[in-house]
Structure formats: C-alpha cells, structure tokens
C-alpha cells in the first residue's frame, strides 16, 4: 500500500443525490443527441451510390491510424498549423482519455466488479499528464486563434471565385463564426478546467491527501496559490468549484452533443475519409458499369457513399484552394468550394427523414449548393488538390463524374465538342489522317520499325502531340535517333495507334475513352514487345494506370527512366557536358500522378546542368493549364493563363538559361507563354530530350534527323 492510497480524483463530492442524477440525465441526453446526429449522418452517406472498397480493412485502419497519429498530411506546406494541430489533437485526446477512464472506473468497473485503479500514484501521474495535456491544448488553440485572426492567410478566406459579392453563399460567414465558436468552446473548457482544479484545491486545502499532492497538478496548484494570495477562503472556493463544475461539465456535454452537427465531426469524418482513401483516385478514374443507363453525376445521390463522406471530411483548410492552378489565375473554380457546395447540398437534401424528389437533387446549376458548368470546365484535373488534401478528399473524380453528365447533355464549349468529334472520327485530336501518324519518322535518315509487323524490344507509344505537332515532331525525331544510337530495338504502331484517351477520359467523355482504350489495347496486344516507352506523360498515365481495367497490362516507362537506364548501362555517354543554369517543370502526369520526380533531375545532373528549383516543384508543381482537356478549350481572353503564371515564376530565377520540360503539351504551352509574357530572349523552353541530344551529339551523320 502506498502512502498515497487515499489520494484520488474528487468527483461528485458535496453534490446532493438529485444533482448527481441531473448530471447523469444531462450526460445521457448529450450522448443521445450525439448518436442521433451520427445516425442521421450515416443515413446520409448510405443514400449515396454503392461502392465496393478494394483492399483489406485492417490495412486501411492501420494506414489511417498512422496518418492521424503522425499528422504528416497536416504538416505539409504548413508546418506551424501541423504542430498546433498536434498540440490540440494530443492534448484533447489525453484529456478525453483521462475523462473516459474516470467513467470506466466510476460507472463500470467499480460498481460491477469492485475494481478501482484511479487512486494513489496512478492518479498522481495521470493528473500531471493531464495538466500538461491541457497546456498543450491551450497553446495549440491560442496559436490557431492567432492564425485565424491575425495572419490573414488567403487560404482561410472563404470568399469564392465562383460567386460574386452579394450572392447569398459568396463568403459564407457562418463558417467563420463556427470556426471561432469551436476554438473558443475548447479554450473555455480547458481554461475552466484549470480554474476548477485550483478552486477544488483551495476548497480542500485542509485535506492533506489533496493539498500535499497539489504540485502533481502544477497549473492548478499555481492558480490555487494565486487564489489564496488574493484571499480566497476554503468556503468561497467550494462555492466557486461547485458553480464552475457545472459550467465546465455542461459545456463539455454540449460539445459532445454537437459533434455530428458541426465542424467538430471532422474528428470522425476526416479519420474515416483517410481510411477509405483511394491511393489512385485521380490516376485511375472510375469505370462506368456496362449497361448503366445514366452516366455521370447528375443528382447528389449519384455520388457514392465515400464521396458523400469526403464532403463532410473537409476542414476548409484551404490547401487545395491554394494549390489549384485554375483558382490561381482567377478562373471560377476552387476545389474547396466545389466540395463545400456539394456538402451544403447534401446537408440540405439528404438529412431529413425522406429523400426529396429527383428534381430537387440536381447538383448542376447556379443555385446555392449547386456547381456551375463554368466551374467544372475550369478544372485541369492536375491533381494538385487531391495530392495536398490532408484528409483524403478526392476532388478530381467528383469533378470528372459531374463532367460526364455535362458531356452527355452536350453542355460544353463548342470547340471541345468539335475536338471530341474529331478524335472519334480520326483517332487523333489534330484532325489529321490516321495514315499520317507515323509521318514524322519520314524525316529520319533511318527507318523506324513497324511494331505491328515485326517484334521489337521496346514499343514506343508516341501519342498525339509528339506525332502531329510540328514542334514536337522534331523532339520525336531526336528521341528516335537517341534510341537508335543507344542500340535500342524499338518500333512504333504507326496508324495502329490512337489517341491514348487520358485527356478524353478527364474531359468526361467516358464512351469515347472506352473506344480509344479498346483500340489501343487491341493494337498493343497484336504487337510483340517487351516493354512500352512514351515521351508523353498523359499517355504514360492512362496506359500504366487505366488500361489494366480494359485488359491491357503492360510494363511501361516514361522516357526519362529508360534514358537513365541507358546511361547506367553505359549505352549512352555524355560527351559534351552542358553548363546551363536550368529549372525543371514537373509534368502533372509524370510527377504528381506517377511520382516520377527523380529521373529527370538525375538526367539533368548527368548532363552537367545546374538545376535551380522553382518554389512550386515536385508534388507542388504548377500545372501548365493543358490538362483535363483544357488544351482543347480556349482560355478566356485577357485573363492570365496558368502557363503564363508559371513563366513569371521561372523568370524570377536569376540567370536562368533553360526552362526544361519533359512533356509534349508542356513544350507547346510554355513556348507560347514564354512569348506572351515577354520573356522571349531571356531564357528558352526545351524538352529534356533536346538537352540530352545536345550533350551527346550524334556520332554519325546517318543519325542526324533531316
């Protein structure tokens, strides 16, 4: 028996039986309200479409726990917020666990089994831990208040780019009020907890087991000393303790009751969202089931339960808002606001007893909670939002599914309509004859094998831009000469190849994508090769991640990894090192989509270039604006284009000589932006292939493209 045996938590001391009963009534009421709210939320999610999750449950739970505990996703691009959230999270969890263990003993273990552990040294250590936890919680909360109130972070501004001032849902002041109420609520609970603790100490100062162990609650003890110094007597302290006990208790119960109805629910929804994350959310878009009549998302109930859950997981942290290239150039799109709109829509329609008629579930339009087609068409599907979201909201599939409906209705830019018809007719977006697909190879002093007619080691899937765009044709010729010089046995499919469909799918024309994917899988299957290579990250992404769903499983690399391998095998050697000061633009589909950050950088180092990174690089690379079919839709006249925004960023690098890209569409977009931003002559835009060829001049005239 320890000398501290009598030491324990003072709970209901000095409370009358009726008072204790009242507390239990309030407690159960709060829990009842909580569970009813939770039921309503779960019923809302279940009103969404069905979805089978892949992968095992335990793996998902483990992954979620790891992310919740290490806070890695919250740290990203906002370390201070991550740390403050850590303080709040761990402080709150400890205090909650502390309170929960008291309940465990007082209401369950002791009355049923006579087990008591909440006393003695255990109590004292716990008391110390909880006191520290309270400090952490308060510190975190105070920082968050400073952040919201004084730091004026643009990402925390709820003003919407897709609404105008004066619209009822322009900047949603109710969200701001809720944010502050949440912070203040927690702060008041934590603050009153300390005052309550101090009052209890002063009240029971005559009791040795309380008073002598008071420094195990250092904050409470310090406050208690202060109270005593101010002349507070034991009797008055007892009254204060009694009053504060109720105040503290009722606010805590209110908070518990309100969890499912307020942003506090992110405790559950964010964790659940992390648990059901699809690691390939944007890389591999969902298929439309055979025989499904209605395509795309027209009604809120067309989203699956996981997507409805995603909507509720959003904590409005604004990281997607900040990362979005469309938003950055003033387009009427913020991924955050798409999610919040749909959340508000689901809240208004799916939380009552009965689901309203289909007409009231239409998520397309300009009304509150609806998403306008201008917003949906502004998206570049660059995945910046999905990639940065700390709670695994998957914006891009939601946007594409809504676009599928727009495509079905023909609600799109006439030029896009024309392009889709052209792709259907000719198999390419340039409207060129199929026969001309391999014509770029005629400019080479050697024939390129027809992989349909003879077996090759490496099948080169060329893609539309590298096949038909005159500027990119030159790069294709250089790459062909490079492969030949390295002794790679390669061939192309000539007119057997069609547009890979990556962007068609991201436009939302799923039917056309199916046709293109089937045609390419068919062409690839009839050829004999060991692996596929492409210079086009868009083709790379869809062949790698999406063709398997259509029966096409191939080993495929982007050219950067193949060339790196050729260097490693000494089949290529730098003979004329380049001394350029360069910066590298990560293509969305190579970088963020497929994590191909290293190979191009290693190649630049091999070539002897000095790489200066832009602020937005690798996972935070800034889309050129061409993705998601936007290359086929004219940008608004006069407004800044994403590529121009990017050029300005590059131009700020002192002494920059070459802006290096490794994607055909990037070459087109940035060469244009270089001119329109007035940077022509200051630095140049080049394909990495061009630099490689420059560092390894062709040894034989027979390998120089005409």
């Amino acid at each position: 028996m320890s000398r501290f045996d009598a030491v324990t938590r003072i709970l209901f001391e000095a409370f009358g039986a009726a008072e204790v009963r009242l507390f239990y009534v309030l407690g159960y009421t709060a829990i009842g309200i909580f569970f009813y709210g939770a039921y309503v939320q779960i019923r809302k999610y279940r009103r969404g479409a069905a979805l089978e999750l892949e992968g095992g449950l335990w793996g998902r739970v483990g992954g979620m726990l790891a992310q919740v505990l290490n806070h890695r996703t919250i740290d990203r691009r906002d370390r201070a917020a991550g740390n403050a959230h850590r303080l709040i999270f761990y402080g709150f969890m400890l205090l909650f666990a502390g309170t929960a263990t008291i309940t465990l003993e007082y209401d369950i273990l002791e009355p049923l089994f006579g087990i008591r552990f909440w006393h003695g040294e255990f109590y004292l250590v716990f008391s110390l831990v909880l006191d520290v936890a309270g400090v952490a919680l308060i510190a975190g909360l105070v920082f968050m208040m400073y952040r919201r109130g004084w730091m004026r972070l643009p990402k925390l501004d709820y003003a919407r780019p897709d609404r105008s001032p004066g619209d009822p849902d322009f900047n949603r002041p109710q969200y701001r009020r809720e944010d502050w109420a949440f912070l203040w609520g927690l702060l008041i609970i934590a603050g009153t907890g300390y005052v309550l603790e101090a009052a209890r100490l002063v009240w029971l100062q005559g009791r040795a087991e309380v008073w002598d162990t008071r420094w195990w609650s250092p904050v409470g003890a310090l406050l208690a000393e202060g109270m005593r110094a101010l002349g507070l007597g034991a009797g008055a302290a007892g009254l204060l303790r009694h009053g504060l006990w109720w105040f503290h208790g009722v606010i805590a119960l209110v908070l518990i009751a309100l969890i499912p109805y307020t942003k506090v629910k992110h405790i559950f929804t964010a964790a659940a969202s992390l648990m059901v994350r699809d690691p390939q959310a944007a890389q591999r878009l969902p298929r439309v089931a055979d025989g499904q009549v209605e395509v795309g998302a027209a009604k809120i109930t067309d989203f699956n339960w996981k997507q409805l859950l995603n909507l509720d997981a959003c904590t409005k942290c604004g990281r997607c808002h900040e990362a979005c290239p469309a938003r950055a150039v003033g387009a009427p799109l913020s991924p955050r606001d798409v999610i919040l709109s749909l959340r508000e829509f689901a809240h208004a329609t799916l939380e009552s007893g009965a689901v309203p008629a289909a007409a009231e579930l239409d998520v397309h339009g300009k009304g509150p909670g609806q998403v306008a087609m201008e917003t949906l068409w502004s998206c570049r599907t660059c995945m910046a939002c999905v990639e940065i979201c700390p709670v695994a909201v998957e914006h891009v599939p939601i946007i594409v599914q809504m676009r599928r409906k727009l495509v079905e209705d023909g609600a799109m830019d006439p030029l896009l309509t024309k392009t889709l018809q052209t792709i259907h007719k000719t198999g390419n977006s340039f409207g060129e004859s199929k026969r001309k697909r391999g014509a770029w190879s005629k400019g080479l002093p050697f024939p390129v094998k027809d992989a349909r007619k003879e077996p090759v080691d490496v099948l080169w899937f060329v893609g539309d831009y590298a096949s038909f765009d005159p500027r990119n044709q030159k790069v294709s010729q250089l790459f062909a000469s490079l492969l030949r010089e390295a002794g790679v046995d390669f061939g192309i499919l000539y007119d057997g190849e069609s547009n890979a469909g990556n962007d068609v799918r991201r436009v939302g024309e799923e039917g056309l994508y199916e046709v293109l994917a089937a045609a390419n899988v068919n062409a690839l299957s009839s050829a004999s090769f060991k692996s596929v290579v492409t210079t086009d990250p868009h083709s790379f992404n869809t062949i790698r991640n999406e063709y398997p769903d259509f029966g096409g499983k191939y080993e495929i690399q982007h050219y950067t990894t193949l060339v790196r391998q050729l260097f490693a095998e000494k089949r290529l050697r730098v003979t004329h090192p380049l001394k350029y000061r360069v910066t590298f633009h990560d293509p969305c589909h190579l970088g963020r989509f497929n994590k191909g950050y290293d190979a191009p950088r290693e190649l630049l180092a091999l070539l002897g270039c000095e790489l200066v990174e832009m602020g937005r690089c690798k996972a935070n690379s800034f889309c050129c604006g061409a993705g998601g079919g936007r290359i086929w839709i004219p940008d608004p006249v006069g407004a800044e284009k994403p590529a121009q925004n990017r050029m300005k960023e590059a131009a700020a690098i002192p002494g920059l000589e070459v802006y290096v890209v490794s994607c055909p569409k990037d070459l087109t977009m940035f060469e244009d932006a270089l001119k329109t931003t007035g940077n022509e002559g200051k630095f140049v835009v080049k394909e990495l292939i061009e630099l490689i060829r420059e560092a390894i001049p062709a040894r034989l005239a027979a390998e120089v493209p005409a």
Partner: protein
C-alpha cells in the same frame, strides 16, 4: 405529327488519295465517311421542334445508302431521331441527285410527314438539288437555304427566313407540307456522346428495298438518271512554284528562272 429528315453519309478525302480504277470517283479506301454537316443542322432543327411541342412529334431520318451509312444513322438516333430508314438496292449505285430525290419523294409519300427537311447541299457532291427535286416530285412547296424557322407542329404553314446576297433577309410564309433545305448555323447541333451512340445501336434501322417504295430498278441508278459522271481527276498544278533555300539560294534560283524566260523570249 411527323417530320422527315433526309440525311446523307458523305465522304471526305484522306491524305494521299487515289482515283478509282474506272477514273470516275476516288478509291473508296481513301475516303473517310461521316454525316453530312448540313444534315446535322436539319436534324437538330427537327429535334428542337419535337422537344418544344406539346403534342408528340416523330422525327424520322431517311438515308439512301449502303450498310456503311448505318453508322451515321445511329448518330442521328443518338441525337434524338425516333426512327431511321435506310433505302438501298445495288441498282441505286450511280444515281444522280434527281434519282436520289425520286427515292426520297417515294419515302415521303409512304411516310406522309408534315415537313421534309434536307441539308442545303452535301459536302462531297455539292449538287444542292436533291431536296428541291424531291419537292418538285412531291408537288410540295419548298424553300431553300433556310436560316431561321418558326413552326408549330400541325400548323398549316410555317414562317422562315432566308439569307440573300448583300445582307438581305427574306421572310417567307410557306404552306405545309413543305420541303425546306436547311442552312448551316440555323442552330447549334447537339453532341452525341459515344455512350448515347452505343445505346442507339439497340434501336433498329429500317432497311427498305426499292419495292418498299414502289420503285423499279429503272427509276434509279444510271438508268434513272439524266446525268452521269464522266471522270474525276486532279487538275494539273498551276505554274507557280515555291523556291526553297536561304536568301542567296533563292535569289540565284530566281535569277536562273528569269534567264530561262528571257532565253525563251529571245
């Protein structure tokens, strides 16, 4: 209430095409088939009328063509046509626009629509006469190059506008049934998603023979035509030529040419 829309699957030239062995047409291997651009607009006009009408309106597309044309007809069904009729017989090969109009008129007699729409012309042959000829054969009034139309299904007449030279507009009231040839730009044709085209594949295409429209082999083909294509060819290129090379080379070549001409003149 019914609107009949005559459509055609046209041919566009692919790269490096070749002329057919008999020298009267392009080798079919080098042709890309698609729905005639004008017909997209006339179908859209009919579908718009159907969608705006209180009473049920049936939009029927009719095409004279071989099985190849089914692809275009399916596109029409995807865009909102209720039925598709394709008339074909080997004897139809070689028909001129008047013979085709004879078939269309026969279909119109059997279907008895209140309106017959056709495109102003087809993009491959550019006769601009098929629709008008059908009107003559039917004895119906017609209006060509219609750029705007106000028509309530079942009404005795329709009001339309035609664009004339010099920026003039002509407003015409026409008695129904009538034949209208529709101009580009009268509306914005809708997009037929691939999914809707696939779903339209389930709708049947009615294939009619000449007998179905009470015509004989002598009414169509070369036998039923008063004109025939003698040959199709690529005219000799003009004498203009592009001089390649840098400025000095171009100047040298130019001087050479001038000298040749002078020499010839001397």
């Amino acid at each position: 209430m019914k609107i009949l829309v005559a459509v055609k699957q046209v041919a566009a030239l692919d790269e490096d095409f070749q002329i057919r062995g008999d020298g009267r047409d392009v080798d079919a291997d080098f042709l890309i088939r698609d729905l005639n651009e004008w017909d997209d607009f006339s179908l859209e006009e009919a579908v718009k009328i159907k969608e705006a009408a209180a009473e049920p309106v049936q939009v029927v597309v009719v095409c004279v063509g071989s099985e190849e044309a089914d692809e275009s007809l399916r596109k029409c069904l995807a865009k909102g046509a209720d039925r598709a009729i394709r008339v074909w017989d080997a004897a139809v090969e070689g028909s001129d626009s008047i013979a085709i109009a004879r078939i269309l008129a026969a279909v119109a007699k059997r279907e008895a629509p209140q309106m017959l729409f056709a495109g102003v012309q087809s993009s491959d042959q550019s006769f601009a006469s098929t629709g008008i000829a059908a009107a003559a054969l039917l004895g119906w009034p017609h209006a060509a190059v219609v750029s705007s139309l106000t028509y309530a299904p079942g009404a005795k007449s329709a009001v339309l506008r035609r664009e004339l030279e010099g920026g003039l507009l002509q407003e015409v009231e026409i008695q129904c049934p009538a034949v209208l040839t529709i101009q580009l730009g009268i509306n914005t044709p809708r997009y037929a998603s691939l999914r809707s085209i696939k779903q339209a594949a389930a709708k049947p295409i009615e294939v009619w023979s000449l007998a179905d429209v009470a015509l004989g082999a002598g009414d169509v083909g070369e036998a039923g035509s008063l004109s025939r294509v003698r040959r199709m060819y690529i005219p000799q290129k003009g004498r203009a030529q592009l001089i390649d090379g840098d400025a000095a080379q171009q100047a040298a070549r130019l001087a050479e040419i001038i000298r040749e001409f002078k020499g010839a003149a001397a």
